[in-house]
Symmetry: D4
Subunit: 253 residues, 8 copies
Amino acid sequence: MNEDIESLLEKVRQGTVSIEEASLRLRKAPFVDLGYAKVDTQRSLRQGVPEVIYGAGKTAEQILGITKVLSADSDRPVLITRLDAEKAKSLQEQLPLTYYPDGRIGLVGEFPKPDGIGTILVLSAGTSDRPVAEEAVLTARALGNEVKAFHDVGVAGLHRLLAHLDDMMEATVIIAIAGMEGALASVVGGLVSCPVIAVPTSIGYGAAFGGMTALCSMLNSCASGVSVVNIDNGFGAAYQASLINHVKGDVRK
Amino acid sequence: MNEDIESLLEKVRQGTVSIEEASLRLRKAPFVDLGYAKVDTQRSLRQGVPEVIYGAGKTAEQILGITKVLSADSDRPVLITRLDAEKAKSLQEQLPLTYYPDGRIGLVGEFPKPDGIGTILVLSAGTSDRPVAEEAVLTARALGNEVKAFHDVGVAGLHRLLAHLDDMMEATVIIAIAGMEGALASVVGGLVSCPVIAVPTSIGYGAAFGGMTALCSMLNSCASGVSVVNIDNGFGAAYQASLINHVKGDVRK
Amino acid sequence: MNEDIESLLEKVRQGTVSIEEASLRLRKAPFVDLGYAKVDTQRSLRQGVPEVIYGAGKTAEQILGITKVLSADSDRPVLITRLDAEKAKSLQEQLPLTYYPDGRIGLVGEFPKPDGIGTILVLSAGTSDRPVAEEAVLTARALGNEVKAFHDVGVAGLHRLLAHLDDMMEATVIIAIAGMEGALASVVGGLVSCPVIAVPTSIGYGAAFGGMTALCSMLNSCASGVSVVNIDNGFGAAYQASLINHVKGDVRK
Amino acid sequence: MNEDIESLLEKVRQGTVSIEEASLRLRKAPFVDLGYAKVDTQRSLRQGVPEVIYGAGKTAEQILGITKVLSADSDRPVLITRLDAEKAKSLQEQLPLTYYPDGRIGLVGEFPKPDGIGTILVLSAGTSDRPVAEEAVLTARALGNEVKAFHDVGVAGLHRLLAHLDDMMEATVIIAIAGMEGALASVVGGLVSCPVIAVPTSIGYGAAFGGMTALCSMLNSCASGVSVVNIDNGFGAAYQASLINHVKGDVRK
Amino acid sequence: MNEDIESLLEKVRQGTVSIEEASLRLRKAPFVDLGYAKVDTQRSLRQGVPEVIYGAGKTAEQILGITKVLSADSDRPVLITRLDAEKAKSLQEQLPLTYYPDGRIGLVGEFPKPDGIGTILVLSAGTSDRPVAEEAVLTARALGNEVKAFHDVGVAGLHRLLAHLDDMMEATVIIAIAGMEGALASVVGGLVSCPVIAVPTSIGYGAAFGGMTALCSMLNSCASGVSVVNIDNGFGAAYQASLINHVKGDVRK
Amino acid sequence: MNEDIESLLEKVRQGTVSIEEASLRLRKAPFVDLGYAKVDTQRSLRQGVPEVIYGAGKTAEQILGITKVLSADSDRPVLITRLDAEKAKSLQEQLPLTYYPDGRIGLVGEFPKPDGIGTILVLSAGTSDRPVAEEAVLTARALGNEVKAFHDVGVAGLHRLLAHLDDMMEATVIIAIAGMEGALASVVGGLVSCPVIAVPTSIGYGAAFGGMTALCSMLNSCASGVSVVNIDNGFGAAYQASLINHVKGDVRK
Amino acid sequence: MNEDIESLLEKVRQGTVSIEEASLRLRKAPFVDLGYAKVDTQRSLRQGVPEVIYGAGKTAEQILGITKVLSADSDRPVLITRLDAEKAKSLQEQLPLTYYPDGRIGLVGEFPKPDGIGTILVLSAGTSDRPVAEEAVLTARALGNEVKAFHDVGVAGLHRLLAHLDDMMEATVIIAIAGMEGALASVVGGLVSCPVIAVPTSIGYGAAFGGMTALCSMLNSCASGVSVVNIDNGFGAAYQASLINHVKGDVRK
Amino acid sequence: MNEDIESLLEKVRQGTVSIEEASLRLRKAPFVDLGYAKVDTQRSLRQGVPEVIYGAGKTAEQILGITKVLSADSDRPVLITRLDAEKAKSLQEQLPLTYYPDGRIGLVGEFPKPDGIGTILVLSAGTSDRPVAEEAVLTARALGNEVKAFHDVGVAGLHRLLAHLDDMMEATVIIAIAGMEGALASVVGGLVSCPVIAVPTSIGYGAAFGGMTALCSMLNSCASGVSVVNIDNGFGAAYQASLINHVKGDVRK
């Protein structure tokens, strides 16, 4: 951004850009205003990834509008998360959208080729945690990562988890997904030496408090190297894992 | 109690006990009223164990008074929990009390010979959980149990826990003590086939919420066979474990 | 497990098992991977009881698949908890499943003969706590226990509870189920000398907080010998009670 | 108050009170403004009882000032609650104050003769609940009530409570005081047909949450006829009980 | 109860009642066991009021069964609370039940003649608090009380409340019902000298927390003489108010 | 109000108003009692704005009744908030009501001409916060304010917010609306020197706790000059903003 | 800020400021970096008020350093909040600081002449709320406001509050301060037509939850025109009130 | 670990290690048991970093013992966190320990040479967040990272933060530390394209809830690429950041 400012100022000095125009550009950052949303058309430049649309609070019409702006601007895929089947169907009438019901994910375009440092490993504790795991897997793939996933590896059956010890040892980042008491994050965190992103899920009842117990449990992990995202936020974990898997010495160089 | 009622009624019919007296006895259960406390002198009969004095909310004088009544009535040991060093010192001037500072336990009398079915195994996750573990160990011993204990076996270093797998397999009851995320209960519960009593501790900070996270975590254990007592309640866990270790087909026979 | 390791190692030394194979066996514990679930076919060996299927987060198809694997492997019954009527009906088309709607329990196979030490007594406070009580009763029976149950014996009508004092005195373990203020656990705990497993229920409104008040109340029971399971977890209480009712001196001998 | 308005207006019509004066009187209700406090000198008229001084948030100087105004105005006793020993000592140098350390109560003047309908019965569950019970007992006496009290009658030892069944049956109002799980309120409420005022106390640890568990427990009492005051509010319970013990058909007649 | 015991014992001494029988009677208190409920047929004797049926957790069939037992035993009315319209309609086919939809109350029999000391005044803060107010009004009437009620008198329009100052001054007990911030209880409590029973309601949104804010607010009322019942518990407030309005010096005389 | 009292008293002195009548008027403040509601017909005089009807807890019939009373009394518009589409449709059959579905607002009458000091600026963080923003915009307009609004200006895309810096600098009051972490309030509060009214919304999931996180976040804003209203309370923010935008040196002069 | 950008760009075009320099100035906003703090020397320009130092988390040395920078830069007073007596004393050795212990406020310089639109009225409910009220009063004065204050006007003694109705009617902004149930905000909000800033205090015990009950209560005020600041935040309320009392049509003109 | 198992099995086959011995080694992982702690002497091998000692719950003696074992085994530095000044002083008598009081960190040995991919940038919002920031900085350095840090860059003074935009753009990982409303994480997360580890601090009062508000706020960050650690856990953030800064494609290769 700094360089942009300097090049703009250079143009002002040369007189090729007027002061008013420069002032405007400085304040009006590059986005398309649809009224209901300001679509960030240069985000892939600034953050290295395409705009992701959080589908939960938006109508099919709004999602369609945003997707069109984004598609016009770039040939990278557009990822729509928390997309229910009904909206997906309605969107498919106007967009070449592939819908993944297990992870409630829609994708316009193709999954890119993996270009990360290594592999992201997704581990989920129980069968019911699957949707969150799918959201993480699909997001990570859409962001250009090699992904492996194992399900139903909760700590109550430790041997099921340990059966995947090799994959755990080889992973670049691990996403550990669990509801109920969320102990998976601590056990995994204690076994490996790569970063672990823990995702609490809302699975459980009673004193599970909709994922709050798993969340607090993971924040208190007795293993080092574990950080946590919001309840059921498979997308957020994958996004963070992807950033880690693409990490660079000096991002701007 | 039923038999007592019937035998009392038999005496009424025989005229050896008056109606007024019988009515009185039925309502006035056997305790000594010290004003500040009603000491239950027949509890060891009714519940099979000596009265335990919860020392936290009582003055040294009150504890002394209660202990004297209990000692007069029985030759079983008197256990005083949550006893701070100062009160212990003051009590020792008047009572043959042995004080265990690590578990904040005072004992008047000797530890009885173990007479339980098997062994109670106490596992604690971290060095800081030690006081709760000591409370559990001493309580269990005072209640007539064979006890084994291993400390610092939290799940972040799984190999430390698995090193004691044999003892875990052989235990009759296990007390699993952990603060922070309390994952120890789930991992232990998944490995063994005996009852596990989980004790959350107040160890941790931030989102540990003084033990609430460990408590809820343990209540949501994905392993079956785990029940839970209050935060830091090493005594309660040991008491329950001792009942289990002395369990009988028909308690009254 | 230790013995298995030793016998495996013995075979390695004798050369009947290759090193690679042994390594594989050590890490690949015995379960069947269905993709959506890893079914533990040797759990009845390791833990002495059949696999129990938690039906709440699974589709009828998934339950069917898991049940088939388990049935193939053993002739012990398969217990499916939190099974709604619709899924039960769908399963009955393919399985000899008996459905108990009050406790939302499905059973494939017969209830085994009771082989426990004594009797498990289930007490529930109000009419609305019945479903949780049924879950406990059926689970305990499926795990091979003699079970008695009394309903609507909450402490507001103390005489209703005391009418069952004999049964309470004779029980080996008591499961005390109550919503609202959960006082039943404390009163029962004060009367008996066997272990009491308390189950808070979500019955109540306002400051009952969906069972949280009963849960905390039970954790703070002024009676010793009470431990607690999660809200509405009739299954967990029965499982723990059954372990207690089958307790042994040295489980491995 | 209505009558006062009418009589004031009558005087306006007669010209004996000017409009400005009447307006002033209507708005300026009768209290003495000490700057740090507005002392209500006619409250005993309006509410039938003397001003009670809540001592917790006030300096000895402020308490002294308020007491002097109140004493000047009436010969009824002045009750100071939540008064610590140090302030009490300081006040005693200037006032004929009797200090009751157990209930942290100071009294200037004599306890009045009981003039209520019947007896207020104070029941407390444990030895540690004593201070709250004393606050209730002394407050009730200061407000002109016959009071009886029994301590250490918690539900874990039901026979201790039932020993006082006669007194419970004869009471006009019962104040039930308990910490931990607060079950006393429900058991008492189920046994009697008089109003029960429940006082949760902050006694307990862990999931007792400083009295919150007892509070919610009492609010969810399965017995009818129980209402609740704030945690540790022995004064408030006694005040309410005294109003009940002095209840009239038409207060203004 | 004491007298019953003595008279029973007298019969034992005379030989007209056998010991076994007496023992049975002592333990088997007078209720009819319907399996799903133990109906307390002598409660009106013991507590002076008819059994009230809490309709929320019961099927129409269960309510019908309980009502029949109660009606057979007494000619006092039977009150069914939290009764939805559908169940009411189904009950009306078999019972002479009058249904009050505003308060979700069903009544079998007639409202009794008021026989209390004075009048119960019900005040509710907003239009949306009406159902809780109706539950209180109808309950109080069913329990034999003179009742007055004013609605929409919340403290934001103080003049609306003060318009009823005369009625407030003359009441024997006041029930103050409010959601949101529940300030009505404090303002009313400061104006009157009779007991105030406060009922928080679940009306409000956001930080109202389903009535928890109003509940805590009322428990912290800066006015003395206020006690509180559970959220939306109009029945409980009326029950307590009725006990107060029928209070006696010595209940047993 | 003071002046009214004096003028009323003057009339009493002159004999043009009787004492009884004056007493009545003093206590019976000016409202029309519809039974289910007391409609405040002079509120626009006392508070300078028309009565606003909170539609959420009221039936269409009740809203209709209240609107009629208010319309009869004044020619200022009547604002109905939290009005769902169905009730709006039903009301439109009997009233000239304009319905704004985005903000769930109904308006009877015209928006008044803005007569405030300056402009109210409404900023909302995300597309999903729009309904709350609309409620604020429409309320502010109905109360006579010039309003500007920008949506989707959350802090994750700082440039979108800074694009409106000029409008922020020129505003008289700013309403900052955000769910999730509610950071918008702090960033805006740090940039401007006018009062900021923050509105947390219930948008978000997991640890957003239905708006509680945004609420607490805004209350802890590290920027000065921010005050907060209840979750989703766009109306309340606009009402407060309008009061500020119409603020006067001495309201009564 | 916009104008600054334009004038800076103008200088770039004229060549009097180099591009590098301009870029630097744009990013390096005007503050002095002390290492432990970045002191904002131009904040009084940007926000119209002097820097206020929050004293709670800072050492006396740090406060001294910041004050010196601020004093060097401006002749407006420096306000230090949450300043304990000890630090104040230490600061007074090096600075001409006036310390107000009741409000824990230090002031370097003189209170400015009031230049606001009208008067800020501070109302506090109880004697214990005084420190928060003092913080508000002193802050408001330091920010150039005419301030009035009345203490001990809680709603339990409504006449004490109504005695100040005239002042309430004439105020430009009201700050309503209350702990416990916080009802003062609702009652005041219902009486006046100026903005009310509510300050919950941590006064109270038990279910007061350290001010949380008052906070939620105020957020749910049934009166419109009330907004809320953090618990005990007298400073924040006064800051907001001062902004309101100095509000302008277009801040930048 | 797999390779270890294979090589051990190889030795078994060759007969150089007995079966019993092999079984033992498999179960007894490499740690030194001090009784109060099991010190993990091979952790630096397994996890690539030295053992870190959490000092908070340990006595100086225990810390000394653990440090000695660790130092004997390796020449990498030993890091002791949450070490108070008193214990540090006591340790320095026996160990060459350097103590950093600001971050409560003790270091035995030298900071290693940075060997990470790039730079870790530590940003803290307020002066009071400094201790947590220091813990993060020192931990990151001890784990072999290049570290930069800027303090007092909270979002209320956006220009202070933006002054460091270049450093933010160039960082490999950013640690964002803030208390109160924790908005720093969202603003930073929206500006950069590297992973952000957010650390909530316990700084704040009232509705800050000891850091809970900042924690939840950060978990709900509207910016992607933010994960969170426990309150005040500067160590945990630095540990995770260091793992990211040393991330590898296949950790085991």
